[in-house]
Amino acid sequence: MNYYETVYIIHPALQEGRLNDIVTKIHNKLEKLKGEILYIDNWGKKKLSYQIDKQKYGTYILCQYSLNCQDIKDISQELELNPNILRYLTTKINEPDIKEGSNKLEISKVVETENNKFSNKDKQDINKEENNKSIIHDKKIDKKDEIDKN
């Protein structure tokens, strides 16, 4: 039995109940293949450094487990066919790298990280657009500009 870990990204629109359904699906498949789950962690909703499928945010989940080497294809196939999972990455680890923590995951609230809150730049941009609208109401706005802004 070798030790592996995966990190996968889930669509940001799913919360609480549906998130648990996806996580339990993968755990059930792991247990069918006679693997043990050693560590789970939820990093929360983070901002991505580039857009994936036109999404700017995503929830990260880390999972460490033990498996036979011939069963990795089955798990990676299930991660790939699910349309709610945007990306995944599996690596091989040694035994002392396993972290100590909880074995089960229960998601009750949305975890707020530093990147989840709006930064000051977004607030300033919103104020600028409102100010511009009040000044420009006399001019005629082209349809092309409206489409480009949106």
């Binding site: 580039y50 990306r87 990455l89 690596t91």
Partner: protein, 78 residues
């Protein structure tokens, strides 16, 4: 080829506790080895030895796949 007058010591030989931080999950530590545009800084500028430079590049490439670090950044718009 080392530049004349550039005598920097590898940071991983001074502090052996930093070797555990070379991991794709620790993107805040790996941000010191990329430029504003997201490119990897060469070893003759930072002073890192060859063995650790190879480990750092492999971990940065893994972090780029997971969108923890960017592939390319346009400094004009940020």
């Amino acid at each position: 080829m080392a530049i004349l007058g550039n005598t920097r010591i590898c940071p991983f030989r001074e502090d052996s506790a930093l070797i555990k931080k070379i991991d794709y999950k620790e993107y805040k530590f790996l941000k010191k080895f990329i430029t504003e545009q997201g490119k990897i800084i060469p070893a003759h500028v930072t002073g890192v030895s060859a063995k650790y430079q190879r480990l750092i590049t492999n971990e940065i490439k893994k972090a780029r796949v997971l969108a923890l670090l960017p592939f390319a950044v346009d400094p004009r718009y940020n």
